[in-house]
């Protein structure tokens, strides 16, 4: 196992090395003197994490929207998806809206949210919710619908009541897809948070980025973005790990 892992990392590191080399080459050729080298970015990141309390402050503020927004989206989206899947008439009614919302980009509507809710936390949370909600709902619904009807028939034949069917068949059966939806929704929520930060430039990371770019500190701009990328990847990997643990038999249906 170890030998193979090493063998895998060889080409991977080679690709990374080539990418860094290309970046440095591109830098040397470009007119833009502000672009940071790889080492600048690395030191910038180090500085950001360990020596810049404002970074952590900004992170805290920005993530509030993420946490509240994501939690709300989950608390609304999962039940909505479950109900939509179980009530056929409601499902067919909501279907076209789901289809539209899947394809509809949320970003252009952000100005409307600002008109309605201003620039505070409420607006930011609302935007994060609107990015994430549809995907969580749809995947939950798909999960319920993927359950073999014969299983439910079987349960009924043994006299199971609706609540028992839910507890013993539907929820466990839909769990893999629900978790897939949670993971995709998390990615969408993070996107929403970033859009909020960059568009509203309130008091979190967006503000920090604006400051750095205003002061021509492009290495810090890169470092900040890199830090958020790391946070996003960490959260999503954790989610994926959870997903694998909860449902290793996941049938691989997911939308988004």
């Amino acid at each position: 196992m170890n030998k193979h892992a090493l063998r895998d990392w060889g080409p991977r590191l080679a690709v990374l090395a080539v990418a860094v080399a290309l970046w440095e080459y591109f830098l040397s050729r470009s007119q833009n003197f502000l672009l940071p080298t790889f080492s600048h970015i690395a030191t910038g990141l180090f500085h950001l994490i360990f020596f810049e309390p404002r970074f952590w402050e900004a992170l805290y503020i920005s993530n509030q929207a993420l946490i509240f927004g994501y939690a709300t989206a989950v608390m609304i989206g999962v039940p909505l998806g479950l109900i939509a899947a179980r009530l056929p008439w409601m499902d067919r009614f909501l279907n076209p809206y789901f289809a539209v919302l899947l394809v509809m980009p949320v970003a252009p509507l952000i100005p409307i949210v600002i008109i309605a809710l201003g620039l505070g936390l409420a607006a930011r949370v609302f935007i994060v919710v609107s990015f994430a909600l549809v995907f969580i709902t749809i995947n939950t619904r798909a999960g319920v619908r993927s359950i073999e009807p014969t299983l439910i028939e079987m349960a009924k034949s043994f006299g199971a009541k609706e609540t028992q069917i839910w507890r013993r068949i539907i929820v466990p059966g839909a769990l893999p897809a629900i978790f897939a939806g949670l993971r995709i929704g998390l990615g969408r929520a993070i996107t929403g948070m970033v859009m909020v930060e960059l568009l509203l430039v309130a008091s979190g990371l967006g503000r920090l980025l604006l400051e750095f770019s205003g002061r021509m500190q492009s290495d810090m701009v890169f470092a900040t973005v890199l830090a958020v990328i790391i946070e996003a990847l960490a959260l999503l990997s954790a989610m994926q790990f959870l997903e694998r643990k909860i449902a290793p038999w996941a049938p691989n249906i997911s939308i988004g």
């Binding site: 502000l34 789901f98 394809v103 980009p105 008109i115 900040t224 990847l233 994926q240 939308i255």
Partner: protein
């Protein structure tokens, strides 16, 4: 871990598929009656709420439609639309070329797959909008920034789908071709290419949707021209009807391009079940 994510993207979005596919007009009208009714009902509710509540941010649906028609009639939307669409086409074309190429290599050669899979996966799950400030720093306020954002949005789903498509070609077909004396390049053109078409198209459709999102998200942030800039402008003017109208224009772009790719797909993959 990675293969789980790879195969998920391969599933077609069933919801998006329903729109734009009509076997026969009469049949589809009857079939979708309830759905159409649902949308109409929503429009009616929107309309009445718009009039009754009188909120600045919720104009009646009819006003949105009026704004939409005004847009389409006037030249204003056209020039912005043109600029947006041009970036979209260039960005998407680039991501197609790069995505199909890298995906094919990754699908065919294990070494390439191992080398790139970590990065492709990371870039795929990472919210692509995060690269906007980076591209802005590199390219400034220019079309290149927008194109780069669209590229990042759509490429990786294409890479993953293409790689999976090629990797999951039925081995017996490859063996059969080999038994009849096919050389490597013949196996690629006669077997791998046609066999992988359905899944590759799924990736292209998904990539198309992502490209549209990248276009509008990118333009909202790096807004100096294009639909995104317009949305910002009208938002600042508190003109909600116009902002909704722009959102609808983007929605239409998304649906039309999706239908287009789907039509192409069904023509080229009629043989698949």
């Amino acid at each position: 871990m990675k293969s789980v994510t790879a195969s998920e993207t391969v599933v077609k979005t069933t919801a998006a598929r329903n729109i734009g596919s009509s076997p026969g007009l009469q049949r589809s009208v009857r079939h979708y009656a309830l759905e159409v009714f649902a949308l109409l009902a929503g429009a009616v509710i929107w309309e009445s709420l718009g009039w009754s509540l009188g909120l600045q941010w919720l104009p009646p649906f009819s006003q949105v439609l009026v704004a939409l028609v005004q847009f389409l009639a006037s030249g204003l939307i056209l020039s912005n639309l043109q600029s947006s669409l041009l970036s979209l086409i260039v960005g998407f074309a680039l991501s197609l070329v790069f995505g199909l190429f890298l995906g094919a290599l990754m699908g065919r050669y294990r070494v390439v797959e191992k080398a790139f899979d970590v990065y492709v996966h990371a870039l795929f799950v990472c919210p692509s909008i995060l690269f906007a400030p980076i591209f802005f720093a590199i390219f400034g306020l220019s079309d290149a920034s927008r194109i780069a954002i669209i590229f990042v949005y759509s490429t990786f789903v294409i890479v993953i789908n293409t790689a999976t498509a090629i990797r999951t070609v039925e081995p017996s077909l490859v063996e059969m071709a080999y038994s009849f004396g096919c050389r490597e390049h013949q196996i690629f053109t006669r077997i791998l290419l046609p066999a992988s078409l359905p899944l590759v198209f799924a990736g292209i459709r998904l990539g198309m949707g992502r490209a549209v999102k990248g276009m509008i998200n990118g333009e909202m942030l790096i807004a100096f021209v294009g639909l995104g800039a317009l949305a910002q402008k009208y938002g600042a003017q508190f003109d909600a009807a116009k902002v909704f109208a722009i959102a609808m224009v983007v929605l239409i772009i998304g649906l039309v391009s999706n239908a287009f790719v789907q039509a192409l797909e069904s023509r080229l993959t009629r043989w698949a079940d």
